[in-house]
Symmetry: C2
Subunit: 340 residues, 2 copies
């Protein structure tokens, strides 16, 4: 999107208006801007600026005799051009990093809580991108009755297992042979490779067709169950804002946070971007009156998922980005690797 050219004063007016609206969610009048932000010019001047900004699509008026309210476009311009330094008082955020955790889940859960507490918005952490996980080892183990267990060890240290029914007339060494075949077929492959490939089996493997099918299905399940893990914290934050007084807003809000599939798409975004900010229903129809700040989430330098912060459109972007930066999620350089 080519960014519109605004005069300095228009920028000031726009910034004042957005800052003010982020604060108290009230339409702002020309005289209010004059009093608090631009005492050097008269309200009339500001009015003419406002009407131009409105023409350009940055502002809307709830009704003709009310003040102005920023549009989604305005927020986008704001985060791209008007946001100053997002340093926040480095509170006790770092505590997360210093702790010791027993599982990715725990880190992620704690992070979500902290992010939500500090920003005062709802935070979501989703463990995604299971595509690149590779299978390091695969084993088949005889269990009991006619059941065997297939074990998969991945390169990020996760072991997953699945019970599988054996054919009734198995030979002595079935398990061993099958185990070898599985290893040959799957070790070193990524989950994506395993699940996408429609591999055709050699004739000699015909006996193991059912087994292979079961294993591939298992890998798919594994991929899905890993991808889908979602931690939401601070669900009730929405009620702290005037937006939470509107049932429709709450409904939208709940719909976003409780549909994993949709959320997945929203959080991951497209391409290889570090973070993105989605504002309003233009960016995603679910996000009416809301904004979602998304970023990749890394642990030990490995990308494990995505974090999202969900709030009203007039979210305090400065604070949110500040927190993400502090947590090392979003980097200093704002304008690289970024997409609206």
């Amino acid at each position: 999107m080519s960014e519109p050219k605004l005069t300095d004063r228009k920028k000031k007016v726009l910034q004042a208006l957005i800052d003010s609206y982020i604060n108290d969610a009230q339409p702002i009048s020309s005289s209010a801007i004059q009093k608090e932000y631009l005492p050097d010019v008269s309200p009339a001047t500001i009015r003419s600026e406002l009407s131009m900004l409105e023409e350009m699509g940055f502002l809307t008026q709830p009704h003709i005799s009310s003040g102005r309210v920023p549009s989604s476009k305005a927020y986008k311009y704001y985060v791209e051009n008007l946001l100053g330094n997002q340093d926040i008082s480095s509170e006790n955020i770092k505590q997360v990093v210093s702790q010791k955790f027993d599982s990715v889940q725990e880190i992620v859960k704690d992070s979500a809580k902290i992010i939500s507490d500090i920003t005062n918005y709802t935070s979501m952490l989703m463990i995604t991108s299971a595509d690149n996980i590779t299978i390091k080892e695969i084993k088949m183990i005889d269990m009991y009755d006619n059941t065997a267990l297939v074990l998969i060890v991945t390169d990020n240290g996760v072991v997953k297992n699945k019970q599988i029914d054996l054919p009734i007339d198995t030979q002595e060494n079935y398990i061993e042979v099958a185990s070898g075949l599985l290893r040959k077929a799957f070790v070193g492959k990524t989950l994506a490779e395993v699940t996408n490939n429609d591999r055709c089996l050699d004739k000699e493997l015909e006996d193991f067709r059912s087994l292979f099918e079961q294993v591939i299905e298992f890998v798919m399940d594994f991929k899905h169950s890993t991808e889908d893990q979602l931690y939401v914290e601070g669900t009730e934050k929405i009620f702290e804002y005037p937006e939470g007084k509107e049932v429709d807003n709450i409904k939208n809000f709940m719909s976003v946070i409780s549909h994993k599939e949709k959320l997945h798409g929203l959080l991951e975004g497209e391409g290889d971007i570090e973070y993105s900010i989605k504002i309003g229903s233009d960016d995603a129809k679910e996000l009416e009156n809301m904004a979602l700040v998304c970023a990749k989430y890394n642990i030990n330098g490995k990308e494990v998922g995505h974090v999202g912060i969900l709030g009203p459109e007039r979210m305090d972007y400065k604070k949110v980005l500040g927190v993400l930066k502090e947590l090392g999620i979003v980097f200093q350089d704002n304008d690289k690797n970024k997409k609206d």
Copy 2:
């Protein structure tokens, strides 16, 4: 609570009123009851019954010239005395039972979804009391490097695994020996027995001390990760009812489903009861305008957790209990093992 003595006609009036209110959430007038439920008596008669029922605390009037609305007390009387047979058309509920699952989590998640879909209320499943889960099989498997995998199969069909570091100087048959020892020590024990016991190892087992410690720790982790897990399905169902138009109700609702600790107390109830129905803020202050039907949840005859169905106070108790019954969660005999 000593249940009040009501005449047959009062019961009929009360039942008519509650049935009607469950249907459309509108205050009911004497003439409406007369028309649809009791055409043999005049509205005036019903009015006098109504005013007596109100005096007894079963009904309230939103305002003096409106119809009546059932009180929490009425719902309680209703579920205890007026609820007929809760058989519902046995839909495809049983499908859950026939499937094979690899973890309690999966079973529970699916059940929650199904319960919510069929009842059209929000369902919550909490896995509690992992204490009684017994270990059915334990195996140790050589993996790679210096790592082995310990597998635990429990009696409810769940397999859990953990990677364990081996001592550096293992003998040839270490795995086999260890596997046998583990089996001897743990198979048949409940998780509680394993984790509580401060077992002192025989001297001869000294070599395996570290292994045993790791395994016991693993069992503890397993127990903890299993306990307290909460699955909520159908969060958005509340919006399908007029109660979901009130922000305060939604707020309460969200507060109930997002605070695990509170929910824990609510779902578990006190003592050894099969199920309980909590209605309104008298039963639990969080439950204003809401009702929560709770029951123990068993898998293969073993209690693994509790299920809760959360909806408006004027919930369709018949349907809810019918579904629980169909799923084998609540038993035929309503009046045994029951509490408030």
